[in-house]
Subunit: 489 residues, 2 copies
């Protein structure tokens, strides 16, 4: 294997999230953290990441990289193409870590997860300040795409561009912060909201739960897909952004907030907040809350991916850059149908029998065949060009019962294909058990003319080799079945 | 018609959003706004709402209420059970409006959309202050569930509870703000972020686009499903909220922000922001941005509904409260396929081809067969008793393309039935055209034993006569087909 290696220095929730992103994108990872609990903590983050990140991908994930725990920092960084530091927020500690890193590595980019220090502060006294910069991620690191990349005047622009490319390679959105500033960008907003929220709790205006509802039932939903300015641009309406600004600018002078006042952070306030938080969320363990959060984020991110918008566009770009390799791998089925989709049975997929509702089997099959169509290049751009595959016919066999929380895999076997037609057999699988099989006939159509036509050469050049390889697979028993009463049960 | 009536005073984007929510939930609405453009503006908001709100519902929407534009405020409020004021943010204007409202109505709740005034300020000089309160919504009002309900000490608690119930009836989440405070709760956060963002733009740290990316690629996604405190509770990990607070509390004293400083709101700053906003979003018209935003919000809200979480739980509760009224299955088991379900193709049912997505055909068929099962007595109580019909097999034929807004009927023909088996043919019909047919084999099962068993006598006594009547119907051509490549097209 010629997998690239990333070194992760500091193995908490953030370091673990970085490790998971690199590993699941095929990088080898070496972790250094003297904490005896580091191995357990990283294993927990990695379990969450394995259960969620693949659900965002519509191309097969690469083979997971190899995870090692290094006995020394020097061992960890040896041979690494990228180094990420996520140790505690103490500048002296970070300086010592950078000194050790640079004794063992030369010219390798060193990103820091710091939220509290500027790159020029991190670089103080370094052997090679030009490769040290801020790469500030957001928890959960394995799902949220944002990484604020902050260089200083001493940074080497080539190192920064290279680091941004590596971050894109592991599915992130590097936001280049052009001028260094305390707390970078996002945390300045988080801090502003945090201060205001502490006052509201302290003054008894609202509980932690009421504050959370005020966020997630309203503007939080807006901010997950457009930010502040684009949202307000819409609010300005046809009159435009200037109108909005002129209308709402004056409000700023109203003495609403206590923003520069800091509430005294005494035991009383800590007890108040911790008690309210227990009342609000205590019914769920932290592990449960993590799973709920991750499942919700997958839902949001998949919705944005379906719409080619915001963070969803990052996911589409990430798929695209991995597609060519994945298509080549797919033509070599190794005696197996293609694994095209990973899903989990959600509460809304369940009918009153407690089983996955029928239409969700077809939904699971659509996820599977859509991923296959993207793999062969019949993707959203292809459809925008006026061509698509339409499903003409489907035969569904219900063979088992999927239940809440089940993890399902959608596999696809090409039964036959020609220029215009694509005959596939999809299995919805839980572990070793096929819970449903779906046989489908798809027709390639000219959408404007409203009739079938041959697929583009680029699509056929990917499809036909897969069809030829799949001809060697055993034909499914259920293929060609029809629905009917045959004999008395 | 005995529809309830809401009066909407002030018909801009916010008033229009309120009107749309009431209308689509079956209320009659009377709007008063002297602006000659009001009718056009409300029509635009209503068009957006019609194209999006129904996509969140899994229960048929009630017949849309009747929209009228009143010539006078008095005419608008006549007979109204709820009055919502959304006029400009000028206290003297609001006081005049309330005075006119209370000359024409007695004891009717009057909610104000104000973000800038406290309820005690609104109530000053009112004939009946006890019914005037804040009901502060968030744009787009027809999709975002939050309404901050703020009473003052003079408010009648019964009026407030009644208003909250009305807001739930139209699918909203009334957040009862227990102590009145400038800007209520959510806008205090929005203002804090807005100030910080203006400084970042003014100081050239970040553009409007960079700020929006910093929000929507990271914490914005978190806040759409958990708020601030629940997110941080997770960040605290097993050590809990106290650990988190102790770790991050001290950061508050760092002099990061310029939060109480207000940037001078001069032409230069307005030009800077408006120019950056054009560069960021100018490729889309405001109408396009509205549609993109609404589509994204539908995606988020449906994802949360699937997971029974946050705003999704509000949608599920809203469905539940309307289900009883909507369930009305009347059928004539004569010599015709039974019309079992009426549906409309919703925006969320559409794939990127612009057609109804495959799995929705099966959803439509499930609606049809579920209604049939209820008709023969195999309803939810029957299932609770341990017996049910499971679908063993389905064959789908796609014969046409259903498109956004199409009204579809699901018909069911019994092909064969015995004690344990039910073989049906379902047609999804638009006008005279069958857009899909679905042949299904259902098996009657003892759910505990996990095997087939005869249906209860009460069910068979309804089913078998229908099967006998349907034996006289022509057998559908597509029945008994299987999926396959037969000849070159």
């Amino acid at each position: 294997m010629s997998a690239k290696k990333a070194a992760i220095i500091g193995g908490g929730v953030i370091g673990g999230g970085w490790a998971a992103r690199f590993l699941l994108n095929g990088w080898d990872v070496s972790v250094f953290d003297p904490d005896p609990e580091a191995e357990r903590k990283i294993a927990e983050v990695l379990a969450n990441a394995r259960a969620s990140l693949p659900a965002l991908s519509d191309v097969p994930m690469p083979a997971e990289g190899r995870l090692r725990f290094a006995g020394t920092l020097t061992e960890a960084v040896e041979g690494a193409a990228y180094i990420q530091e996520s140790v505690s927020e103490r500048l002296d500690l970070k300086h010592r870590v950078f000194a050790q890193i640079q004794q063992a590595s030369h010219g390798i980019p060193v990103g820091s997860s710091t939220s509290g220090f500027k790159p020029s502060e991190l670089q103080q006294g370094a052997a090679d300040p030009s490769v040290i910069f801020v790469a500030h991620p957001f928890n959960p690191v394995y799902l949220l795409p944002l990484a604020e990349v902050v260089p200083s005047a001493k940074s080497d622009p080539k190192v920064i561009e290279n680091a941004k490319e590596i971050l894109r390679e592991i599915g992130m959105f590097p936001l280049h912060v052009r001028k260094e500033i305390d707390a970078h960008i996002a945390d300045r907003f988080l801090e502003a909201v945090w201060r205001e929220a502490l006052w509201l709790v302290k003054d008894g205006i609202a509980t932690t739960e009421e504050i959370d509802e005020a966020i997630r039932m309203g503007f939080g939903l807006r901010w997950g897909q457009m930010g502040l300015f684009e949202t307000y641009r819409i609010a300005g309406g046809e009159a435009g952004m200037k109108h909005f600004l002129e209308q709402f600018g004056p409000c700023l002078t109203w003495p609403w907030t206590k923003l520069m006042d800091v509430p005294e952070f005494n035991d009383e306030l800590v007890e108040l907040i911790a008690g309210q938080s227990d009342a609000q969320s205590g019914a769920h363990s932290i592990r449960e809350l993590e799973r709920i959060r991750d499942s919700n984020l997958i839902g949001f991110l998949r919705a944005l991916k379906d719409r080619n918008w915001g963070a969803g566009r990052v996911l589409l770009d990430h798929d695209k850059r991995r597609r060519e390799g994945a298509a080549a791998a797919a033509a070599d089925p190794g005696g197996m149908p293609l694994k095209m989709a990973e899903m989990q049975v959600l509460p809304g997929w369940i009918d009153y029998n407690g089983h996955m509702t029928e239409s969700r089997y077809l939904f699971a099959a659509s996820e599977t065949s859509d991923a296959f169509l993207r793999l062969i290049g019949a993707d959203i751009d292809y459809v925008a060009g006026g061509h698509s595959y339409y499903t003409a016919e489907t035969h569904v066999m219900h063979l088992g019962e999927a239940r809440l929380g089940d993890r399902l895999t959608g596999t696809l076997q090409v039964l036959a294909a020609d220029e215009k037609r694509l005959h596939v057999f999809i299995r919805i699988v839980r572990g070793d058990e096929t819970v449903a099989s779906l046989e489908q006939m798809l027709l390639h159509v000219d959408m404007k003319a409203g009739r079938t036509c041959p697929a583009a050469a680029g699509v056929l050049s990917r499809l036909l080799p897969i069809a030829a390889a799949h001809a060697a697979l055993p034909r499914p028993e259920a293929a060609g079945r029809h629905v009917g009463l045959r004999s008395k049960a």
